[in-house]
């Protein structure tokens, strides 16, 4: 019936039309053989390094070496590759890469009371549940704007700490087909992505399963059923394409794995690089817990989070550059908010703060060696170029070639991609 492999879209169209997976046996083989080929990159990708809990601006990208000790905190400032640009000493390795970085020091947002509100606000550009809708997260918006032609999901999330809040990797009103694929245990790669039986046998089983599912799909057109079918189709597609080996980090030389650091975040960054190389448009790598209310967690930031992220990000940027991918890959470093300018103990503990904090963009067409915005001498107020959550979202989307003013659709209801009034930062995206 078909003598060439079906594309995912064709398969879905056929499925929608009630035609089940047509003679799987004939196309499973040929496609799997193509698996090793890397498609040519046509779109920019994005790697979101999500610093959960909200890192201190002062302790990272907006140091205040001349402020009184209780504001300055426990870290010194170091010089970077960019004359005049200083960052916190925790990011000494990264300092050499600041010529590819664009630091936004004027983040000024308004969701700091609660982590989950902040997470949603900075992931979606909307306040939680505004106008009764669940908004898609950044990864899902990008996923929805890219063709699904790599045989891999368009949005992958790495890190088991994500488990407690799947809401920030959700596609909201865009529907579950744009949800992120959450990978909880990187050491195991993507498990069970190989068929349990030989391919011809497997294709017939899938065909049977599809046919058996049809009756119930008709009588129960519920969101839960659609979501199950979507996850099922996505899983089948991964098996079919044979591309799941990209998740297998043991295929990387040991030296490379060590260069990223053999901890979850380091390996997550390595996975992000592998996925972006294969054409996956959005990868989120998760690192918590930056919520330094008290000594225990402040010490963990000092001893673990800063060194771990310094090492992993440096390795990631180097690899992207070596592969010629850095110009087409936007790497975003951000959390849900910053932290209070004043510390309340010697270890540098600080509470939530959203009036003045920092985010950073690397590569992906953002200007290198740039600083946008400025805070006062204690990192307490933005004195120049404030950037709101929606402004930031619009900036990232614009860099990725997605128009933030366009409407998305919640059912039949048109909804702006980013909250109206949001303006991309022209210093970063150009005057357009």
């Amino acid at each position: 019936m078909f003598d060439r492999p079906l594309t995912r879209r064709e398969t879905l169209r056929l499925a929608a039309a009630g035609v089940s997976a047509v003679s799987f046996s004939r196309w499973l083989g040929p496609l799997a053989a193509h698996a090793a080929e890397t498609p040519k990159k046509k779109h920019k990708s994005c790697i979101l390094l999500w610093m959960d809990g909200g890192p201190s601006q002062t302790d990272t990208f907006d140091p205040k070496p001349d402020a009184p000790a209780e504001f300055r905190g426990p870290y010194k400032a170091v010089q970077t590759a960019v004359p005049g640009l200083q960052i916190g000493e925790g990011y000494t390795k990264l300092a050499k890469w600041m010529d590819r970085a664009c630091v936004i020091r004027g983040m000024k947002t308004d969701e700091a009371a609660e982590h989950w509100r902040g997470r949603i606000y900075m992931h979606t550009g909307y306040r939680p549940n505004f106008a009764g809708l669940t908004y898609p997260s950044l990864g899902s918006i990008v996923a929805a704007h890219r063709p699904q032609d790599t045989g891999l999901p368009n949005f992958v999330v790495a890190g088991k700490t994500m488990q407690n809040f799947p809401h920030i990797s959700g596609a909201g009103f865009l529907g579950p087909r744009h949800d992120g694929l959450i990978l909880r245990d990187l050491s195991k790669g993507l498990e069970n992505a190989q068929p349990g039986t030989d391919t011809a046998e497997y294709a017939e089983k899938l065909d049977l399963a599809d046919k058996l599912a049809q009756g119930f799909q008709r009588t129960a057109p519920w969101p839960a059923v659609k979501a199950q079918r979507t996850a099922y189709q996505g899983a089948v597609e991964l098996v079919r394409s044979g591309k799941s080996q990209v998740f297998d980090l043991s295929r990387e030389p040991e030296k490379v794995r060590e260069r990223y650091g053999k901890h979850e975040f380091g390996q997550g960054c390595l996975l992000a690089r592998r996925l972006v190389e294969t054409g996956v448009p959005f990868v989120e790598v998760y690192l918590g817990d930056w919520d330094t209310h008290e000594q225990k967690r402040s010490e963990s930031v000092r001893d673990t989070l800063l060194p771990v992220s310094d090492q992993a990000m440096t390795a990631l940027l180097a690899d992207l550059k070596d592969r010629g991918l850095l110009d087409d890959t936007l790497v975003v470093w951000m959390g849900e908010f910053g932290r209070t300018p004043k510390t309340h103990d010697k270890s540098g503990s600080r509470n939530h703060y959203d009036k003045a904090w920092s985010t950073v963009l690397f590569g992906g067409g953002a200007p290198g060696g740039a600083v946008v915005g400025k805070t006062d001498d204690k990192a307490a107020e933005v004195v120049d170029r404030p950037v709101s959550g929606p402004d930031f979202m619009a900036t990232v989307l614009t860099l990725l070639g997605i128009d933030p003013t366009k409407d998305l659709h919640a059912g039949t209801r048109p909804v702006r991609t980013v909250a109206p009034g949001a303006k991309p930062v022209t210093e970063i995206v150009g005057k357009g």
Partner: protein
């Protein structure tokens, strides 16, 4: 074709535009208009901002108008500024405008006199509880009356297969075994559904499953630093399982949770609200209000509630009852160890979290970082209730007594509503923790009757659940009939619920023909995520206690395990036994269908699977493949 006639009648009788929306009744502010305002207007004209001096949260405040005068003229839509602004698109200012249908609702509400029917007053408690059957009949009358008002036809009763899958999953959290399912399908007794409901409610698994639902809400660690160990969670679970199986009164169980002391099992409820080594009064207030009163009072922790009429003072007045709750340790002056209310109250924690500052008579100071009302002294006061002098009373005991008092309608309504949601996938008030006057029930009379009945029955959860399960409304099929396809609120047909992770695990074990052992051991097979409950939940534990019952939460990674884990392709006990028992392919296939989906296969399903098996070299592998296909079907993932 006796079935066809009612269908045709329904088509003739129902206007073409018939939907779940009600057109017959007079629109009221709370039921019809507020949901629209809530989506579009309350961000600027609600609890936080009152732009132009306008507060649209209640009918009274909306009718009072704003700085520039009245915005609603009852009976005269054309003179009402509110409608004019909405119709012209001037309001809301945001990108999402009010739909034409919603504008029409507002217009009709004003035209009909801008009526208000507030919900949430006193509860009428009947002197004597009804029997479960009488209550079921009452529920059906209420549901049917509303369906008739809206001219929405009801779907027929579900067949035995659909019914038994639903009732097993809802009551004991798993599917029936093949033997159990086959016995029910083969039973010809006219009262077999009643008998099944009674039998399920009498099983120890009833208590275990219901306790699991509550354990996941109030006794599991919610953040990495919670002072709640798995030993506490396990003790709580055992305590509550026993409580449900003995059918202890719900008010009594809740009192024990709120007043739990020392290391007693229900103390996990308090421990879930600890931070940095000490109980936190604000977290306890949040938990009590959300779980037992059905309101999200925590939205008023730092500012007045944006959408409901809760003030910051209300939140902290509730927190005041927990200001003395502390974790103490035996030393020279302290004789006890564990959670107690102490005169000293909790100390400042190691990392500097401050306890609530206490004032005379149980009053407290709102903490200095808690928004506009910071540093105000507020008394201990029950939400929408009286001020309490706590000088000589145990604060938690006083609160527990008030929360569970028959006079507190919120408590009974919240419990009845949760139980309803468990059976129907949706509360009469939805979400189940927003029982505010601003979020009225779809069936106010019904909710109040259920709550009144609950009090009259002595807070008997089994009684209420039994009645709900006996209703025609619960037993309807999910399949729609012409005219009720779009109904989501009137219970004209069953709405699907997703099978949550633990019930999915138990159902898979049962469907494999394996035995669930009481300690939670046993599994489907293999060495991976299907090997045991623990391994399974590590991968499939994607839902939380507050996940909407309709949300399917599994993704590609989980589906891959169900598709390709070695345990799903090796012939399992169910399949092997089905084949061993002999008979032709149809007989064997029927056993597999009954074992997995609790129903007999339909003709076309038999034909399809029979042909599939006949093409296989090994029939046993063929039957296993059918099992595999059914386990991966959408039907297995939901409760129809």
């Amino acid at each position: 074709m006796p079935r066809l006639l009612p269908t045709i009648l329904a088509i003739l009788l129902v206007p073409t535009a018939a939907t779940g929306a009600e057109s017959a009744a007079t629109p009221t502010f709370e039921r019809d208009v507020l949901p629209i305002l809530s989506s579009h207007c309350l961000q600027c004209h609600g609890g936080i901002h009152q732009k132009g001096g306008l507060d649209l949260r209640t009918a009274a405040s909306a009718l009072a108008g704003g700085d520039s005068g009245k915005v609603i003229v009852p009976g005269d839509p054309k003179a009402s500024e509110l409608l004019k602004a909405v119709e012209a698109g001037a309001m809301p200012k945001g990108p999402i405008k009010v739909s034409a249908a919603d504008k029409d609702v507002i217009r009709r509400w004003i035209a009909a006199g801008a009526k208000s029917a507030p919900f949430g007053g006193e509860l009428r408690v009947p002197p004597k509880a009804r029997t479960a059957k009488e209550l079921a009949e009452f529920i059906d009358r209420e549901i049917d009356r509303r369906l008739a008002d809206a001219k929405v036809p009801a779907s027929p009763v579900a067949d035995d297969g659909e019914f038994q899958r639903r009732v097993w999953l809802d009551v004991v959290g798993r599917i029936p075994t093949r033997a159990e399912a086959a016995a029910f399908l083969g039973d010809t007794a006219p009262d077999k559904r009643e008998k099944l409901i009674d039998a399920l409610l009498a099983r120890p698994e009833y208590g275990a499953y219901q306790a699991r639902l509550w354990r996941d809400r109030v006794a599991v660690a919610t953040s990495a630093n919670a002072d709640l160990g798995s030993n506490h969670t396990a003790a709580f679970y055992a305590w509550l399982t026993d409580g449900f199986n003995k059918n202890r009164r719900w008010d009594e169980l809740v009192r024990e949770m709120i007043t739990a002391e020392g290391e007693s099992p229900p103390v996990a409820f308090v421990r879930q609200c600890m931070d940095d080594g000490q109980p936190r009064a604000n977290k306890l207030a949040m938990s009590v209000s959300r779980r037992f009163l059905g309101v999200r009072l925590e939205c008023a922790e730092c500012h007045n509630h944006p959408f409901a009429d809760w003030k910051q003072d209300d939140f902290w007045s509730l927190a005041a009852f927990f200001a003395r709750t502390a974790k103490v340790e035996k030393n020279k002056t302290e004789t006890r160890t564990g959670i107690y209310d102490s005169e000293k109250g909790p100390p400042r924690t190691r990392f500097g979290l401050k306890p609530l500052e206490r004032k005379d008579g149980g009053a407290v100071l709102i903490p200095d970082d808690a928004g506009p009302r910071a540093k105000t002294v507020v008394p201990a006061k029950f939400p929408r209730g009286e001020v309490v002098k706590l000088d000589d009373r145990s604060p938690r005991a006083a609160l527990a007594e008030w929360v569970t008092s028959p006079k507190n309608a919120m408590f009974a309504r919240a419990a009845a509503n949760r139980l309803w949601a468990q059976a129907f996938g949706r509360g009469l008030v939805n979400p189940v923790d927003s029982l505010d006057p601003e979020n009225p029930p779809t069936h106010p009379e019904l909710l109040d009757a259920l709550a009144g009945e609950f009090v009259a029955s002595g807070y008997d959860l089994k009684h209420l659940l039994r009645a709900v399960l006996l209703t025609r409304a619960y037993q309807r099929t999910h399949t729609t009939v012409p005219g009720n396809e779009r109904d989501e609120l009137l219970y004209s047909h069953a709405a699907g619920k997703a099978v949550s992770p633990e019930p999915l695990f138990e159902s898979l074990v049962v469907a494999s023909g394996n035995t669930l052992d009481a300690k939670g051991g046993g599994g489907i097979g293999g060495k991976g995520p299907l090997a045991s409950r623990g391994e399974f939940l590590k991968l499939f534990g994607t839902a939380t206690a507050d996940t909407d019952p309709g949300d399917y939460t599994q993704g590609i990674a989980q589906v891959l395990a169900l598709l390709n884990d070695p345990a799903v392709s090796v012939p399992n006990r169910l399949v092997t036994d089905a084949a061993k028992e002999g008979g032709d392919a149809d007989a064997i296939l029927t056993r597999v269908f009954v074992g997995v989906l609790s129903r007999n296969p339909r003709d076309e399903e038999l034909k399809l699977t029979r042909e599939y098996v006949s093409r296989r070299k090994s029939p046993l592998d063929g039957y296993q493949a059918v099992w595999w296909a059914l386990v991966n079907s959408p039907e297995f993932a939901v409760i129809p």
